[in-house]
Subunit: 273 residues, 2 copies
């Protein structure tokens, strides 16, 4: 264990704590990752995993080598979205991630536990340790982009993940429901604390377009994406619709066949560049 | 403290524990409540509070004297749905509940704390104690029906509420999203454990009817209400739509002006009789 090399931010003296330096985990020795983007939300249930999934799929379609680290340990949904069943195996290089049909490398706790249907009830420190292992012991190989599906919220667990892995930027996911300003504000403040740029805001469940008549309905109230992006100085924003076809594809493991509206795809493409 | 008068369900001997008898709270001495219905869900975010609200509004429209005990202490949303602002006061008879425009008597932690916008982070035992107080110290007066908006989930807190208050029956709220069978199953098992009949199942966010062309869309997958009610032997089920007009009314304090579809209203009427 190495000691912290920083000065204390309060008293200015050399920090006596070993903690900060200990948090950082080394990348797997046989891997090289060009860019890490974390997908976060101040609240669960807003579709963070869908955004992480579509960010990776969009990058894959642009020809990038992509991985997804599913750090949403207590609610892992990435393997199911890509139709990945079964576990993984270890080689001399590390734990081998699963591969989607299109070649996206995926690691999730679901692939390492015996009964993936049972809920995982873990302390925060165990969750953070598991995510660290995913970074250090998984043989990612060479990646242009690693997408991290973060634990929801702004508590201990996401903070530790930010301290463990050199995240380059964050995509914040929201929904148009009430209190969203407060919830997005918490995510943005967490990024500021961690010194991570917010690359974009994605408003999920933003509208529904009637497939029969084409009318657009804002089911959960008026979109706040534009106003929130302006207020929090987030450079890009996208709106994802409620779409039963997308839900059906993702539930059935067909995430790689999902087509988002053109404006949303353009925003995701701008984020991954 | 009186001792438990039950026999142990495992060994058949007289129970040595004082706990069960201690949980039960006496009703406020100046109140008389004919019937208590709890609204529960195995998971948060499915619209439990909306169902509790509409159950009370439906009863009020039938001429019943109705109260709502907001036991969702960490996410109290009942006062806002009825446009109730400000606190409450104490008389010689107990704490006076607020009154909605239509005369529904309402008590919620939001009315007793100084900063209702700040999240309440309490231990389970404190939450249960607060709910007990709502039962014992609130001057409900004479009520035909008290609706309890339960804490979400099937953990300690809802269990203690069931042990504190003589609930006559439970309405279980679900959504059509995945894993719903497991989540509803947990609620049904909790009711069985507590020896409380499940009076009905309400599937919220069940469909969306395009207000322009009339087409009905099952936004979050096929309805499972009928199949689940059959599977768990629940006598009635209702489907509530996603409806921006309802959301807008409830967000703006106009819950008493909400009109549900006729089939849903009929089901709620059958439950409250």
């Amino acid at each position: 264990m190495s000691e912290c090399t920083h000065d204390c931010s309060t008293c200015g003296n050399a920090c006596a704590s070993k903690a900060p330096a200990d948090f950082a985990a080394p990348l797997n020795a046989n891997s090289k990752i060009r860019r890490v983007i974390a997908v976060a939300s101040g609240k669960g249930g807003v579709g963070k995993s869908l955004v992480a999934t579509m960010l990776a799929v969009t990058a894959m379609r642009k020809g990038l080598k992509v991985g997804i680290l599913d750090a949403d340990i207590t609610g892992p949904s990435i393997p199911k979205a890509f139709g990945i069943v079964g576990g993984t195996f270890q080689t001399e290089f590390g734990i081998e991630p699963a591969r989607s049909t299109g070649g996206i490398r995926i690691i999730s706790l679901n692939m390492l536990i015996e009964h993936p249907d049972e809920p995982v009830v873990w302390r925060g420190s165990m969750i953070a340790g598991c995510v660290k292992q995913f970074w250090s012991e998984v043989h990612w190989g060479e990646l242009d982009l690693l997408v991290i599906d973060m634990p929801p919220g702004t508590g201990d667990v996401p903070l530790t993940v930010f301290q463990s892995i050199p995240v380059d930027g964050v995509v914040v996911v929201s929904s148009p429901q009430e209190l969203v300003e407060m919830i997005v504000g918490k995510s943005v403040r967490m990024c500021e604390m961690m010194n991570k740029p917010v690359l974009g805001l994605v408003e999920n469940m933003s509208y529904f377009q009637c497939p029969k008549c084409g009318e657009i309905h804002e089911l959960y109230g008026e979109s706040k994406a534009l106003a929130l992006a302006g207020h929090f100085k987030i450079p890009r924003h996208a709106r994802l619709p409620v779409d039963p076809k997308i839900a059906q594809l993702v539930d059935g493991g067909g995430a790689e066949n999902v087509e988002l509206p053109a404006d949303a795809t353009a925003c995701l493409e701008a984020i991954i560049v």
